[in-house]
């Protein structure tokens, strides 16, 4: 079978099944079956072997652990402490709670690697508080959802772990590269909040005294150490990413169970189950997506695409935009992890040919996929925030669109100026490049 025929079968079957509302992970597996049956050189057992190979990766263990750590942090009331710190730092700006929301997301992103944990944990505290103070519900929902995507951009990040593991890019390097765009995203979003607050007259808090600021920092201190342990530990070479994720779990379990005393054995069991079930649904998808990606690679679909686009003579910038558009498009419809596996494998040769640095390629991909977390029809963070704000997704769309404009500018900047993200790993950890 030719590359064209195989792509037609795979993508055609996949799209049809998705439209019929078959779960994404099952649709990916089912789409592979006709190819395995039609091609006499293939044996169907390869599907299971490819799935097994993709699961049998030590690096992926970091996914459930980082989820577990984030859920433990939520259960131990750390989010409230971070809100206290954010209030003392940015609460006095116009649109106080909006800024607090963004800053807490940024701090939480440094602890957790998952945007959905961020949206659920922060949204349940911030959305009711914002509504009570007279903020529009749609704005409260939109800012919670959009700011939570920093979770996958600011290290640690589950998406970067999957990306690094899959395409053999240094995860430490990716983490360092995510710092600058993550921080800029917070600044851009706070600017948007500022403009909203001015035009809609949102309330402000009284400026906190220096003493209050110190007190709030003290209350949040244990939580603020976490990013240093995780990211520092990986960059300095003390731990592998998987080990760092376990250290984060143990640290947050000690914080929640022994120091803050918010989690008892029963609570711990509940968090264990919830983290495992959420992680396994995402991870199961890695298996079927890997089989799907393996078939694409076997029939040389990525090379065909490179040959096709080579005719247009695309340089690094044009290729960067093609990559971003592809991830933005697929991210609207499927989860970020299978998107990385399928599109990442297809686009890697294209990126290499255009001379895009692997870390640059990854950051463009991750930021583009972050949009998918808040865009319908499949925007998990937006779905979570909408259900917390008790509104329908359509009512939040307009505000989400407005808040995404500065994020879009950021994406363009990242594509145009690779040094913006690469200087930090180059400076701090040149061996990661």
């Amino acid at each position: 079978m030719s590359a064209g025929e195989v792509s037609l079968i795979l993508f055609g079957a996949f799209a049809t099944l998705i439209a019929l509302r078959v779960p994404v992970s099952f649709a990916l597996g089912l789409a592979c079956i006709p190819v395995f049956i039609l091609d006499p050189r293939m044996t169907p057992i390869v599907l299971l072997q490819e799935m097994w190979k993709s699961y049998n990766a030590f690096i992926l263990l970091a996914v459930p652990f980082f989820l577990l750590a984030a859920n433990l942090m939520n259960a131990s009331g750390i989010t409230e402490r971070l809100v206290g710190l954010a209030r003392a730092s940015v609460g006095h700006l116009p649109g106080g709670l909006g800024h607090i929301n963004v800053m807490v997301s940024m701090l939480f992103a440094g602890i957790s690697g998952s945007s959905t944990a961020d949206a659920a944990g922060i949204g349940s505290l911030m959305i009711p508080a914002m509504k009570k103070q007279g903020y529009d519900t749609s704005f409260s929902v939109a800012i919670t959802a959009c700011s939570s995507v920093m979770g996958v951009i600011i290290p640690p990040s589950i998406l970067m772990i999957v990306w690094g593991g899959l395409m053999s890019v240094s995860i430490g390097g990716l983490f360092l590269a995510g710092l600058v765009p993550g921080f800029l995203m917070a600044v851009f979003m706070m600017t948007t909040v500022f403009i909203y607050a001015k035009s809609r007259n949102y309330p402000i808090y009284q400026r906190a005294s220096f003493k209050e600021f110190i007190q709030a920092s003290g209350r949040a201190a244990f939580a603020l150490v976490t990013p240093a342990i995780i990211v520092g530990g990986i960059i300095m070479g003390f731990f592998t990413p998987t080990e760092a994720s376990v250290v984060a779990v143990i640290y947050s379990a000690i914080l929640g169970g022994l120091i803050y005393r918010k989690i008892d054995f029963k609570g711990f069991r509940k968090v264990l189950y919830e983290s495992a079930s959420l992680a396994s649904v995402s991870l199961f998808c890695i298996g079927t997506a890997s089989a799907f990606g393996w078939l694409l690679a076997y029939y040389r679909v990525p090379q065909e695409l490179v040959n096709l686009l080579a005719g247009f003579g695309t340089g690094p910038i044009a290729t960067g935009f093609i990559i971003a558009l592809a991830f933005l498009g697929i991210g609207m419809f499927i989860d970020a992890i299978p998107a990385i596996i399928i599109l990442g494998t297809i686009l890697l040769p294209l990126a290499t040919k255009a001379g895009i640095h692997p870390i640059h390629f990854a950051i463009i991909g991750v930021i583009s996929l972050a949009f998918g977390l808040v865009t319908p029809p499949y925007g998990l963070c937006l779905l979570i925030s909408c259900s917390l704000g008790k509104i329908k997704m359509v009512h939040a769309i307009k505000d989400v669109g407005i808040i995404l404009i500065p994020m879009f500018i950021l994406l363009v900047l990242v594509i145009l100026f690779p040094d913006m993200i690469l200087f930090l790993p180059r400076w701090l950890a040149p061996n990661f490049l």
Binding site: W52, Y55, N56, P64, E243, R269, L272, A276, P377
Partner: protein, 164 residues
């Protein structure tokens, strides 16, 4: 039958919780042995962690079929009647059943391949991990059969059954 499926489902949930808790140990051992020397540097920790992890994924994927928590995408408009809702669910559940059947049939062959291999570090017979694939197939078939029965009930008796 329903009570058997229920207790099997709860058993799976319990096993998933225990495995997730257990998963913390081998990786912690690895760090402790490297930095303290209190315990020897076991080489099996990494492998045991990986195998336990595969079981977590497969059991989580089994449970998620009964919970309807595998991610899907809402593209088409919501069906207006219970009958069309039942029809739409039936299509999804048949699709799941097809993959479940695939896993059951080829999973058994896959597990047989595992029977003739031992793992590199801990010497575990690979069938003990590979068998999670056919088990997932059988479990999905069981859970999805229950759902298909519900869909058919919904199409035949649009007035009864669980509300939309």
């Amino acid at each position: 039958m329903a009570s058997f499926i229920d207790s099997y489902y709860h058993l799976l949930r319990r096993v998933l919780t225990v495995l997730m808790g257990f998963l913390i140990f081998p990786v912690s051992l690895q760090i402790i042995s490297r930095y303290t020397g209190i315990i020897p540097r076991y080489i099996w920790t990494e492998e045991v962690a990986r195998f336990c992890f595969v079981w977590i994924i497969m059991i989580g994927a089994m449970i998620a079929v009964r919970d309807n928590s595998h991610f899907d995408v809402d593209l088409l408009p919501q069906p207006k009647t219970k009958r069309s809702q039942g029809k739409r669910n039936l299509i999804v559940h048949i699709a799941i059943a097809v993959l479940a059947l695939f896993f059951s049939v080829y999973g058994v062959k896959f597990a047989q391949l595992g029977y003739i291999q031992n793992s590199e570090m801990s010497g575990i017979n690979m069938i003990s991990i590979y068998i999670s694939f056919p088990l997932a197939g059988f479990t999905w078939l069981l859970f999805v059969a229950e759902k298909i029965a519900e869909d058919i009930r919904m199409m035949r008796n649009p007035g009864k059954g669980s509300p939309l």
